[in-house]
Symmetry: C2
Subunit: 415 residues, 2 copies
């Protein structure tokens, strides 16, 4: 695989995107519909047909529905071929409507990173939930067991003996036997180190109000390792102790029906892990500049497995300084993640969202056209998860028209 | 003034804070009240007295009310002495309740960065608004003129002739003569360069439905220049062309009752600018790690003019890896801004919020005490404005007890 920098892969990709989107065109005059106006035109989330995405007030978070649906189909087809299931992570989209679509298209459940996010999903009709984070306080444990009691598809991660005992006590108090998985650490962020996991499993197996379902092991950083061979090598190496633990648990007669983990960067690698059952993919829906830079199995420096469906529309505020444009999408619209946002159709532009309220674009080669104040740009976001978390709604777009307005159900649910 | 790095000033400050807060103490057991539970206990935003901040579910955004009120009093006293007014920027707090408190304690109005933020303030009873950003589209111009019609305290920034003509046309359509100020650029982000501003002012002066009130000039980057002498030098230098323009406008008989700008880093410098009327301060309410590092007029490497009132409470999730703690406050709770969040009472800890859902703390010197899973930490945020924008509510704390729950009225209003 040829070496590539994020910059070169961004340039390659954005030029490619411009070529693919042959219908790339900005109509005038734009109208500037606000979120409130669009909600007023909406019946059961479906928007009155015909409104162009270019007419949205900006910054606007948009998802191209054809692309997102194709990404989901690609994921499901690949996993089916490889004998794995998908249990997508809602930390990416935070949107009950999307979780429901994932469930309807073959996912076996969803994952939630925070308890308040899980509560928001449950309250909106999504209840096959793997809570991937152990709950660190007794109040959160009680809330988790309340979900478990009401929704039998709820599975709670646990990573410590005291936490397991507290969970069992709360489950008893709630009158349930609660499903749990052990979070077996990869790295030093969360979970129990692999060498301690078997002993914890044996403790859990004897606790009266917990039912062990298996383990989870998630290597967050491993998703973005650049180059497919590098990601594969890292996944096999970093999970090796966890596989040993998994096998020791199985050998000792424990129930190991779940071995969950992986993500959008390793979805086509995890079938190589013995016993592995399902991937906790999230970003495959949307893509972003970070994922586009990780490279494909084919050796392409751009990650082409999934199409970038998530974009932010932004408006030019100032064009009077040579080699620069100021837009209305800053850090509150795009976050400070890197690589920078990529302007579709303008591979020569560098978009810096480092200012809270304004985007700062610089270019050294001339843009494809002259940009006037009020003109709009569409950008691929740096990192999808935290960008989605900045918005109250997401516009579902099909063929450049607004089809739905989705409330971002779990926005700000970081508790 | 002694040279200082952000790291050294952070250490100095956080040790100092630990010494000052002699009552620093975390009670057990914590209860973990959710935002919904607290809202249920709230009458007219006032919370049933007695709930400790340590009982809040985390991550929780808190403001110490005694400190914030003292910061406001300090600002008002200094400005009064220097003959300036305050027109605080709501982009920092996004909270109508705080804007009302600022108005009640002597501010002449507020500033808004985005039109949707201004609309949220107007809808919540705050209507003396200087809209500091020019509105780039006809739809936004119409919305701005709708505010102008209903609220005579509304003033709109303008930075371009066509924009001024569109504004005047929309004002005519709305049946108002709208107050405007010219945004005269400092740097290359927004506004009209100083040399073109007089001509624009003369155009505006002749437009039938606009009334010129003066100019604004904001140097965002200048607020964080390290060292008081450096900030002073930068303010005087960067604004020199704008002062010339201001004086030329005045000489030509234009109405120049407003010359607005400056911020929390230059509030005690702007009185040196001829004709200057009011400062657009925001962060003085809260402080953050960025401002603490800019240094005081006294030469102290820590900026001590205002007390850090804004904090995030976070919970320890994992303590089993040597020299590390994992918390529940990641990039969605604290943003990626630098310097990193500062853990109060633990100057030896480095808090990296680079992970979306988790905070990663490292320490090489032993912490002041052992931290167990479920224990809480209180951190000063990296940069207050975008952190506030991550939360739906802010807890007002007095003497470590929750006094009010404020809705963050303008959260996510980046349009």
């Amino acid at each position: 695989m040829p070496a590539s920098t994020p910059k070169s892969s961004r340039r390659v990709f954005l030029s490619g995107a411009a070529a693919v989107t042959a219908y790339f065109w900005i109509p005038k005059p734009i109208k500037g519909y606000t979120a409130a106006e669009l909600r007023a035109m909406t019946i059961d989330t479906k928007v009155k047909p015909g409104i162009s995405k270019w007419d949205l007030d900006t910054p606007a978070l948009c998802v191209d529905l054809d692309k997102m649906e194709k990404n989901i189909a690609t994921m499901q087809a690949t996993l089916k071929k490889n004998g794995l299931a998908s249990r997508p992570h809602t930390k990416t989209h935070k949107t009950a409507a999307i979780a429901k679509y994932q469930m309807a298209t073959g996912s076996i459940g969803i994952c939630c990173a925070k308890l308040s996010e899980a509560e928001a999903m449950v309250a909106n009709g999504v209840d096959q939930i793997l809570m991937t984070t152990a709950n660190p306080s007794k109040s959160k444990i009680r809330r988790a067991m309340a979900i478990s009691k009401a929704h039998r598809g709820f599975i709670q991660a646990v990573d410590e003996e005291q936490n397991a005992r507290d969970l069992s006590a709360a489950a008893k108090e709630a009158g349930v036997v609660a499903d749990v998985v052990i979070d077996v650490a990869v790295g030093t962020r969360s979970g129990i180190p692999a060498e301690g996991a078997l002993a914890l499993a044996q403790v859990i197996d004897k606790l009266p109000n917990l039912k062990l379902r298996g383990i989870l092991s998630y290597d967050g950083g491993g998703q973005h390792a650049k180059g497919f061979p590098q990601r594969k090598e890292r996944a096999l190496t970093s999970l090796a102790p966890n596989v040993q633990t998994y096998e020791a648990m199985k050998k000792s007669g424990l129930n190991m029906e779940i071995f969950s983990g992986g993500g959008s960067g390793t979805y086509n690698i995890m079938q190589l892990i013995p016993g592995f059952t399902d991937v906790q993919v999230g970003s495959y829906l949307f893509m972003d500049m970070q994922y586009l830079a990780i490279g494909s199995e084919s050796g392409d420096p751009v990650y082409t497995d999934f199409a970038p469906s998530l974009t932010v529309l932004t408006t030019v505020m100032n064009n009077r300084f040579p080699g620069r444009l100021t837009t209305d999408g800053g850090a509150k619209a795009l976050t400070l993640n890197t690589p920078h946002a990529g302007v579709i159709g303008e591979p020569g532009m560098d978009y810096d969202a480092g200012s809270d309220e304004f985007g700062g674009i610089r270019f050294t080669t001339p843009p494809s056209r002259e940009y006037k104040i009020g003109d709009k740009l569409e950008v691929i976001v740096p990192h999808c998860d935290p960008v989605v978390n900045e918005y109250d709604q997401m516009y579902g777009i099909r063929k450049d028209r607004v089809e739905v307005v989705w409330e971002i159900t779990g926005r700000g649910k970081s508790q």
